[in-house]
């Protein structure tokens, strides 16, 4: 009996645990489906494969080989551990062996991934003595090897950021590589959605302009995790039709998937045991039984908290902490720290890791047996990716989703058919977001002058005219030329709304060492003076946030609380673009200006999570121009009527709660984070003169979330209604409409009011409450 089998049997027989399991699903092992090695395979490549024990291919590998060999662009949908890399390496190595002057570019979303990839490729290449030159080219590549990478690298492994700011603006240095570029691999293409994807689409547009200039037309090979619309997403990003290959032929070991809802502490107030403590307890159980475990937490803070709690529980000097080594892992760590942790996981010196979604992607961390999802990761496709990090080998594995009390989590554990039966969310990009498009248009003109009629993007001539007015481009001899001394790629970050990051400096004992960085708007919310910042389990207190110099000084400290900012927002409508009547209400799409101000922060005690004090914050306000969908409750609409049915004192609380609900449910329908979408309510809106609910995009200029939300309004509201109805609490709890707030001073039951309001709005009777079915991809 393996360790996993033992611990699963123990959990099954534990009545306390079993009572909180809402679903225990056994996903059976899967047999593989195979195809022979292609007959035209280069003898040396065949020999390398056979030496590595590969005598046949999985179906999807053989299919992508055939498609790529015949020059078709493909997207290969690959679950974790399905031999993804071979599905593109095979056709590419084959070409490089026959045509050594050909070149291939591999793009991975993170640097960590590209390093792992090179390690794998080097192995194959050196092992088989294929003589194919592979080079990594990213921010960590020393200057001394860059020139030789450009000149001789047949496969260059890089990331979109480097392509954007290093390669494309200097393309004349890359003439040999780009002029012979035959393949572009875009791995983990499902990560390129929303803001990042919109940037990526533009980077690919720019790449294609440059390769065309040099007379090359590379084939694109994309790989995606299971999402609702991999083909559509890939076609948007590369701007061409692609062939979908999703006949996964890889075998997989059996997996137990457990949906676990922590028990109530206070049933009336709907308070459940916290996800942090429950995840800690469960992880300890796994680790002590000898099961290598990965824990995924939803935030950097929680990652640090859970890792610290687990370590504290294992603390014992006599047993060397049970000889169990647990690490935290997240963005914001230095690359060397991350590499060390990855290595520890592979070589077995680290038995447990608590990570943000940073480890969700295919970084090789070896075989783990259990995955604990401390909270629903925000999307079904992410959940499967995270669950897939356990059981990369053919062995039995287990994944447990520990639900938090957030409405989305509660919805998932109470509606397992959603989680298990539904096609995952769709990824979408909006490459023509004004901010994003204009930024990349500047870069594109810098790279190569542009004719007014060139179809860089729809209507791009208009934007060029705008850039001409701005003075950064100049029309001369029928072409737009870059006419500014700056280097435009430098001021465009693909990862965030703003390019400027704040560097976090540890100044304990007068030493100055950089321990991390964060973008400026978040800095205002997490690095205000006196905030507690947690890094690798160490607590630091912010001594000085210097926004002007993009620097934040922190010092090591030891306190029993952490801090959370209280944010105030103010909304101004700038422009109404479109008004629709749908779903029993008036919907207005348009531009708004949101002003955000952090004025105070809360101190929250560890373990008990109680509020132990407040502090003042003084940071300048942040302004954002974005897109919003406003739901206007006019008296003559069904929604407006439903609102007016409510007791006047109940109206504000009800609208506030609906805002909370829809914001939390929306990520099920739109592939976005709950924080990408914001909600704000006004009982008497100064602009519309009516009660309103604003749902707006969290990214400057908007990335299409407001529009997408408008299209899905009814299923989102229906899901909100079923969530409220199915919740076991009596007057509202964090899992549905939020707990009662004593400061509101309302009589009556707000939860019932919300339920009645939504039912009347959607005109469904109390009897036939059906869980909403979202549109499948």
């Amino acid at each position: 009996m393996s360790a996993v089998e033992r611990v699963l049997a123990e959990l099954k027989n534990d009545p306390v645990f079993a009572a909180n399991v809402s679903q225990w699903q056994e996903i059976p092992a899967r047999e593989g489906t195979y195809a022979p090695l292609p007959s035209d395979l280069h003898p040396r490549l065949r020999a390398t494969l056979e030496a590595g024990g590969v005598r046949q291919l999985y179906n999807h590998q053989a299919d992508s080989y055939r498609a790529v060999r015949s020059g078709r662009d493909v997207v290969v949908v690959t679950p974790t551990a399905s031999g993804k890399t071979l599905s593109y390496n095979l056709a590419i190595l084959q070409e490089l062996l026959h045509r050594p002057e050909a070149r291939a570019l591999y793009l991975f979303p993170t640097k960590a991934l590209s390093q792992d990839q090179q390690a794998g490729l080097n192995l194959a290449v050196e092992g088989g003595e294929l003589g194919v030159k592979v080079a990594t080219y990213d921010g960590d590549t020393p200057d001394s090897v860059r020139a030789s990478a450009r000149e001789t690298g047949q496969i260059i492994i890089s990331n979109p950021d480097m392509l954007h700011s290093g390669i494309l603006p200097n393309h004349p240095k890359w003439i040999k590589f780009l002029g012979n570029l035959a393949f572009v691999v875009i791995d983990e293409i499902h990560t390129y959605r929303g803001v990042f994807g919109s940037h990526m689409t533009n980077v690919v547009r720019r790449l294609r302009r440059i390769t065309e200039f040099y007379g090359a037309d590379p084939t694109f090979i994309c790989c995606s995790a299971t999402i609702g619309n991999p083909r559509e997403l890939a076609e948007r990003i590369i701007g061409r039709n692609v062939e979908l290959i999703d006949n996964n032929g890889a075998p997989s070991g059996a997996k137990h998937l457990i949906l676990y809802n922590p028990p109530f502490v206070d049933r009336v107030q709907g308070i459940r045991k916290g996800v942090v403590q429950e995840a800690r307890a469960l992880t300890l159980r796994f680790l002590k039984a000898g099961v290598k475990t990965i824990v995924f937490a939803r935030s950097r803070l929680r990652t640090e908290l859970i890792a610290a709690y687990i370590r504290r529980s294992l603390e014992n000097v006599y047993t060397d902490h049970g000889r169990i080594n647990v690490e935290a892992y997240r963005g914001g760590y230095l690359p060397s720290e991350r590499r060390a942790i990855e290595r520890g996981l592979r070589d077995g010196t680290v038995q447990g890791v608590v990570s943000t979604n940073a480890l969700e992607l295919g970084i090789d961390i070896g075989g783990l047996d259990a995955a604990v999802l401390a909270g629903f990761p925000g999307s079904i496709s992410s959940s499967w990716q995270q669950a897939g990090r356990a059981g990369r080998t053919r062995n039995l594995s287990v994944a447990v989703l520990v639900a938090s009390s957030s409405p989305l989590d509660q919805y998932m554990v109470k509606h397992p058919h959603y989680f298990l039966g539904r096609a995952p969310e769709q990824g979408f990009v909006d490459p023509d977001n004004l901010h994003i498009l204009i930024s990349h248009l500047r870069c594109a003109v810098f790279e190569l002058p542009m004719k007014p009629e060139e179809r860089y993007a729809p209507q791009s001539e208009l934007y060029l005219q705008h850039l001409e007015e701005e003075g950064t481009v100049r029309l001369s001899a029928g072409m737009y030329h870059w006419s500014d001394r700056s280097y435009p790629a430098e001021s465009v970050s693909l990862r965030s709304a703003t390019a400027d990051n704040v560097v976090i400096v540890d100044s304990t004992n007068g030493e100055y060492s950089v321990i991390g960085e964060t973008d400026r708007p978040s800095a205002k919310e997490v690095l205000f003076d006196n905030a507690i910042y947690i890094h690798r389990g160490e607590q630091y207190v912010v001594t000085e946030l210097d926004l002007e110099n993009r620097k934040c000084l922190v010092e090591r400290t030891d306190v029993n609380y952490y801090t959370e900012a209280l944010v105030k927002r103010d909304i101004k409508v700038l422009h109404e673009d479109e008004t629709r009547h749908a779903g029993g209400s008036r919907l207005v799409l348009g531009d708004i200006l949101v002003r955000t101000q952090v004025a105070k922060f809360k101190k929250i005690r560890f373990q008990s999570h109680e509020n132990v004090g407040y502090g003042e914050v003084s940071v300048p306000e942040e302004e954002m121009h974005t897109r919003a969908l406003t739901i206007v409750f006019d008296p003559d609409t069904r929604a407006g009527g439903a609102l007016r049915e409510l007791d006047p004192a109940m109206r504000v609380p009800a609208v506030v709660r609906i805002g909370t609900l829809v914001k939390n449910v929306a990520p099920v329908f739109l592939l976005c984070e709950a924080t990408d979408l914001r909600a704000a309510e006004r009982l008497k809106d100064p602009h519309f003169g009516q009660p309103c609910l604003y749902i707006y995009d969290g990214y400057p200029g908007g990335i299409g979330l407001a529009e997408a939300f408008a299209g899905q309004l009814e299923p989102i509201l229906a899901a909100a209604l079923s969530l409220v109805r199915d919740c076991e609490c009596s007057e509202g709890c964090p899992s549905c409409v939020g707990p009662r707030d004593p400061q509101e001073e309302i009589d009556g039951n707000p939860k019932e009011a919300v339920s009645a309001f939504l039912a009347a709005w959607l005109s469904v009777s109390d009897a036939d409450a059906e869980p909403a079915q979202a549109q499948d991809g």
Partner: protein, 417 residues
Amino acid sequence: MAHDLAGRIRLLRQLRDSRLTRPSTADEEPESGPSPQTGPIPVAGEAAAPPPTGFSALADGVWGRVIRLAAPQLAQVVRRGSVLLPAADDAAARAASIRFFDLETTGLSGGAGTKVFLAGVGVLEEETLRVEQLLLADLGAEPAFLDQLALRFPEDALYVSYNGRAFDAHQLKTRFLMNRRVHSLQFHVDLLYPARRLWRSVLSRCSLAELERSVLSIRREADLPSAEVPERYFAYLRNRDPAALEPVFAHHYHDIVSLSWLFITMDEILRRPCAWLARSEVPFDAVQAAVWLLSHPRAADRRFEAEELLNAVLRDEDRASDERVEAGLLLGTCHKRAARPHEAEQVYRLLYETFRDPRVAVELAKQLEHHRRDPAGALEVLEAVDLQGCPRGVTDDIEYRTQRLLRKRDRGRALHG
């Protein structure tokens, strides 16, 4: 700029929306580009713009001017051949084609979007330096501009620049590539590298401007800082007022002329370093000058000057001890390489007796032990060294040698005793 983007976007959206709702034109002009033009497209604004003072049109969108200046000294240096130029069979022929060049660009960060807008080349014609400056009148005229540059920058001529290897030559190559042409300078001497040898330890910076002041004793009146150059050009593109460029032309012209003078001065110094050292009107790092001469492709021809220079530094009691020790160590190495062990020992002995420097002690001990076969003398030298403040590597070396010599002595005593 970020601040008024909101307003811009408003405008853009309105524009876009009004276009989208104009049904007929959308069908007629699916590409929404401007109406196709026939014939060659004139360079915007060029016709209306007056040429800058002294410039005349070389091609559509390309202005040029020539300034001549008497350069008998330069002619002399070129005629007799310069130490700064590479040694090749056809060196004399190539030296006759020597070109001093400098470029001004629209930005300093490089990359495909940075253009060369002003190129200057100084060619020796008999006893005069003919400096030609070429101006790109507008960005779209680049192909014609490059045609003119190709004529004035033949690939096989010999080029002299200051910091042109890392920047200017690269920019030039990029501009040609961007216009689908291949053009690169094959013979290029960048004075920055020997200049760094001569003056890095003497001057605060080694920029051309600094050398002009300190070495050439030239004072420029109201010179334009390099950082302001791109802005001037963009202002000219916007306003078409050539007056904005006058300071750029002057700055650029002076850079090329100074470059030729710097070439003459550096040639003089490196040709007769001892004489320059004695005159001491232009201070330079003599030891590094010797290093440069010894690493010269024709080092054999330069060895005599180098050794003479090192010897002068070594024996000049007014000089700092560090400098004298460095010179002596290098001179000792020269003697050893030339199989003159006695001269080497003399140098080390002199240094040892004057300074007791540990590194010198090591060298002297080696000479004594291996050439004079005098281990006892070597041991004596090593034991007399003051190790205080001595670098770790040297201490270890001394310790190791002392121990070895001690063992050798003990073995000798045992045999005889």
